[in-house]
C-alpha cells in the first residue's frame, strides 16, 4: 500500500489539532524522593502509594487521580537534587515529598525555591529547614516541614524524662550520646538545656562519628562517668551501638531518640539486643494517637509485611495534605497550593497537624503540644514496641533487661 504525502500531512494535522480530551483526566503527580534501600526510607514511597490508592478509590482530587512518581536518592544529596530537578522539569509533578535526611533536605530546599516546587519532608529534623523559611519566606515558602524539628523532639524527650527517668527511675545524671550530623546539632543544644531543667544533670556530651563501628571505647568512657541514664540522639548508627550495649552488658538504660528503633525490623536486625531501649516516636502501632493511626499501621503491615517506620506515617499524611491543598486551591499552581497548605487543619496518623505561620522561628513547621502533636516514648519489650508515655495512652510499664542496674 502506498501512503500519499497528503495523508501524512492530514494525519499529523489531525493529531496536532485533536481536542485535548485526555487532559481533563490527567493525573496529579506527586514526586517522592527517598533512599529506598533502607527500611525507614522505603516506607516513604510505600506509604505515599497507599495514600494515593485510597484517595483515588474515593474519586481522586477534583476529578483527577493522584499518581506517585518515586525516585531513589541513594541517600545522596546530589542524586536527590537531580531527582528533584527531573521531577519538576521533566515529570511535571505538582508537589514533592522528600527524604528523611536533614543534609539531603537542606540541599533540596533552595531548589524548591528556585523551581517554585512545593515540598515537604516526612522525616528530616534539622531546625535549619524551618529557620530558612522564616528568614527568606518569599523565596522558600514552598518548603514545609512534615516532621518535628530537633529542638521540639528534644523537648518531648525531656518532658517525658520528668516522668519516666526522674519520677519512675529516680535518675539524677545523664550522659548525652549523639551521632555527628546536622539534625543532632540543635537536638544536643536543646538536650543540654532541657535535661537540667527536668532535673537531670548532664555529666558529659559525646558526639560520635556516624561511621563508628566499635562502640566499646565510648561505652567504656560513659560507664566510667557513672551516669544514671544514657540519653541518645542516634539514627544512622542505630543498630550497632544497641547491639554492643547489650553484648557488653553496659548497665545503664538507653533513652532518647533512636530512629532505627522505630522500624519493626529493629528487633530482628539487633537479634533482640534492643530489649529495654526507650525511644521517641510520634505514632506507634499500639496507640490510637488519632483514629487513623492503628488502621494505617495495620493496612501497611498487611500490604508490605512489616510495621511502618516513623517516616511512613508522616509520608502517608503528607499525600493527604497535598491532595487537600490542591483540592482547596482548585489548581496545581504552586503559590495557590502553598497558600492552601498554610491553612491546613488535618487530623493525620501522628496527630492534629497545623503549620506554624511565617513569623514563627519554626515557620512551616508543625505545631506541637496538647491537642496537636504530643509525641510518645516507646520501649522495646520482648519483641514488641510498647508505648510507656504519656500515661493516658501508655500500653505498658517500663521494664529492663537483667544487666541494667537502675539507680537506687
Amino acid at each position: 500500500m502506498r501512503i500519499s504525502p497528503g495523508t501524512i500531512v492530514l494525519g499529523v494535522l489531525g493529531l496536532a489539532l485533536a481536542p485535548p480530551a485526555a487532559l481533563a483526566a490527567e493525573p496529579i503527580k506527586i514526586g517522592v524522593i527517598a533512599e529506598t534501600s533502607a527500611i525507614s526510607g522505603v516506607g516513604i514511597p510505600n506509604a505515599a502509594k497507599m495514600a494515593a490508592e485510597e484517595i483515588n478509590a474515593a474519586g481522586g482530587v477534583n476529578g483527577r487521580m493522584i499518581e506517585i512518581v518515586d525516585y531513589d536518592d541513594h541517600n545522596s544529596a546530589v542524586d536527590a537534587v537531580r531527582a528533584f530537578q527531573r521531577a519538576a522539569q521533566q515529570d511535571k509533578v505538582s508537589a514533592v515529598i522528600a527524604s528523611y535526611i536533614s543534609e539531603v533536605v537542606l540541599a533540596l530546599e533552595p531548589w524548591a525555591g528556585r523551581l517554585k516546587m512545593p515540598m515537604i519532608t516526612p522525616g528530616a529534623a534539622s531546625n535549619e529547614i524551618t529557620r530558612r523559611v522564616h528568614d527568606d519566606y518569599d523565596h522558600l515558602k514552598y518548603v514545609f516541614h512534615g516532621y518535628l524539628a530537633s529542638t521540639q523532639i528534644a523537648d518531648v524527650v525531656c518532658e517525658a524524662g520528668k516522668t519516666l527517668m526522674v519520677g519512675d527511675l529516680h535518675a539524677k545524671t545523664a550522659v548525652v550520646m549523639s551521632e555527628d550530623a546536622a539534625w543532632t546539632i540543635p537536638l544536643d543544644e536543646e538536650y543540654l538545656k532541657c535535661l537540667p531543667a527536668s532535673g537531670i544533670k548532664v555529666l558529659d556530651h559525646i558526639r560520635l562519628s556516624p561511621d563508628t563501628t566499635d562502640f566499646t571505647p565510648i561505652f567504656n568512657k560513659i560507664e566510667g562517668e557513672k551516669p544514671d541514664v544514657i540519653v541518645t540522639g542516634i539514627s544512622h548508627v542505630g543498630v550497632q551501638p544497641t547491639v554492643q550495649w547489650q553484648q557488653q552488658q553496659v548497665p545503664i538504660p538507653m533513652y532518647g531518640v533512636s530512629s532505627q528503633a522505630t522500624n519493626s525490623t529493629f528487633w530482628k536486625d539487633t537479634n533482640g539486643a534492643t530489649d529495654g531501649v526507650i525511644f521517641n516516636m510520634f505514632s506507634a502501632p499500639d496507640v490510637a494517637v488519632t483514629p487513623k493511626t492503628i488502621p494505617f499501621a495495620k493496612a501497611y503491615q498487611a500490604k508490605y509485611g512489616n510495621l511502618p517506620g516513623y517516616a511512613a506515617y508522616t509520608s502517608y499524611d503528607d499525600v493527604y495534605m497535598w491532595a487537600d491543598a490542591i483540592r482547596k486551591a482548585g489548581s496545581t499552581d504552586p503559590d495557590k497550593i502553598v497558600e492552601a497548605m498554610e491553612k491546613t487543619e488535618y487530623v493525620g496518623t501522628i496527630g492534629h497537624i497545623e503549620f506554624l505561620p511565617k513569623d514563627n522561628t519554626f515557620a512551616h513547621g508543625m505545631r506541637i503540644g496538647p491537642g496537636y502533636i504530643t509525641g510518645l516514648m516507646v520501649q522495646w519489650q520482648k519483641g514488641n514496641p510498647v508505648t510507656v508515655w504519656p500515661a493516658n495512652v501508655a500500653s505498658g510499664k517500663m521494664t529492663f533487661p537483667e544487666f541494667i542496674k537502675l539507680p537506687q
Binding site: L208, S209, V239, Q248, K268
Partner: protein, 290 residues
C-alpha cells in the same frame, strides 16, 4: 585498668583484622590478583549468616550458611570475573592486572548493591555463637569477643599447618614464589588457583561472620572493609602472610589506642598517616618481597 581494656579490646579486633586480611594477601601472593570485592564478600557472609540464623535455625547453622555463601562468591569471582580476564587473548598481558582490579571493584559494587536491594542497607548483627560476659581482671569482656579472637587464631593456625606441612599447601607456597617453575614440575596452575580461591572463600567467610557477630555489618561497609584489608596488606608487604599478621596487630592496636586515648571519631586517622609514611619510607611494606 584502661591499659588492660585496650589490650583485650585491641587483641580481639586485631585478630579479626588478621583473619580478614590474610585471605586477601594469600590471593595476591599466589595468583597476583588484588581482589577489590573482598569487603563485599565478607558482607555477603555476614548477611547470609544473619538471614539464615533468623529462621530459628540457630547461630551455628547460620554461620555455616554464611561461610558457604562466601565460598560460593569466591568461586564465582574467580570463575566468572577473574579467570576470563586472565585467559583473554584480547587484553594485553601488561594490562591484565588493571582489568582484574577494575572488574573485581565493579563486581564488589554489584554484590554490595544486591545486598542493599534484597536485605536493605540497615546494619545487621549476626547472633553471637556464645552469649554473656566474663570479668578478666576487672574488665567486663563479652564471651563472644574472646571467641572471636580464639577462632581467628585457630583458623590462622590451621592455615599455617596447611601451607607448611602438607604437599598441597607447599605447592601454594611454591606458586607464590615461582609459578613458572611449578608448571615445569608438572603442576596444574589452574587447580592451585582454584584451591587458593577456596581457602580464600572460607577465610573471608569466617571473618565476615565473626565481624557480623562482633560489630555488625551493613552493605555500606563493603568499601571500608576492602580498604582496611588493603591497608593492612600494604603495610605488611604485599603477598607476605606473616607481614600481614604483624600489620593487622599494628593497625588494630593503633586504632584501639586512638579510640580510647584520643577520640573514637578519628580512630582510623593515625593508621592512614602511618600508611602514607610507609609508602614513602619503605614502599615494599614491613616484610614485603616484591
Amino acid at each position: 585498668m584502661l591499659a588492660l581494656q585496650i589490650l583485650i579490646d585491641g587483641f580481639a579486633i586485631s585478630s579479626l583484622y588478621a583473619l580478614g586480611a590474610i585471605g586477601f594477601t594469600l590471593i595476591f601472593g599466589v595468583s597476583g590478583v588484588l581482589n577489590l570485592s573482598h569487603g563485599a564478600i565478607m558482607v555477603v557472609a555476614a548477611v547470609i549468616a544473619w538471614w539464615v540464623g533468623g529462621f530459628g535455625s540457630g547461630p551455628y547453622l547460620g554461620a555455616l550458611a554464611g561461610v558457604a555463601a562466601s565460598l560460593a562468591c569466591a568461586f564465582f569471582t574467580y570463575r566468572v570475573i577473574v579467570r576470563p580476564i586472565q585467559n583473554s587473548r584480547a587484553i594485553p598481558r601488561e594490562e591484565k592486572e588493571i582489568f582484574v582490579l577494575t572488574a573485581t571493584l565493579l563486581w564488589g559494587i554489584m554484590l554490595q548493591e544486591a545486598i542493599a536491594y534484597f536485605f536493605t542497607n540497615n546494619p545487621k548483627t549476626v547472633r553471637p555463637l556464645v552469649e554473656g560476659v566474663v570479668m578478666i581482671l576487672g574488665v567486663r569482656t563479652p564471651l563472644n569477643e574472646i571467641l572471636t579472637a580464639v577462632l581467628s587464631w585457630l583458623v590462622i593456625g590451621l592455615l599455617y599447618l596447611l601451607v607448611n606441612r602438607t604437599r598441597t599447601g607447599k605447592s601454594l607456597l611454591a606458586a607464590s614464589m615461582n609459578p613458572r617453575g611449578l608448571t615445569l614440575l608438572g603442576f596444574e596452575l589452574s587447580s592451585i588457583y582454584v584451591l587458593v580461591w577456596a581457602i580464600y572463600g572460607v577465610l573471608a567467610g569466617i571473618a565476615g561472620v565473626l565481624l557480623g557477630a562482633f560489630l555488625g555489618v551493613s552493605s555500606d561497609n563493603a568499601g571500608v572493609l576492602t580498604a582496611s584489608a588493603f591497608s593492612i596488606v600494604v603495610l605488611g608487604g604485599l603477598g607476605s602472610v606473616s607481614g600481614s599478621l604483624i600489620a593487622a596487630y599494628v593497625v588494630g592496636y593503633l586504632e584501639t589506642m586512638t579510640a580510647y586515648l584520643v577520640n573514637p571519631s578519628i580512630r582510623t586517622v593515625p593508621v592512614l598517616l602511618l600508611l602514607v609514611a610507609v609508602v614513602y619510607v619503605r614502599p615494599q611494606g614491613l616484610l614485603g618481597r616484591r
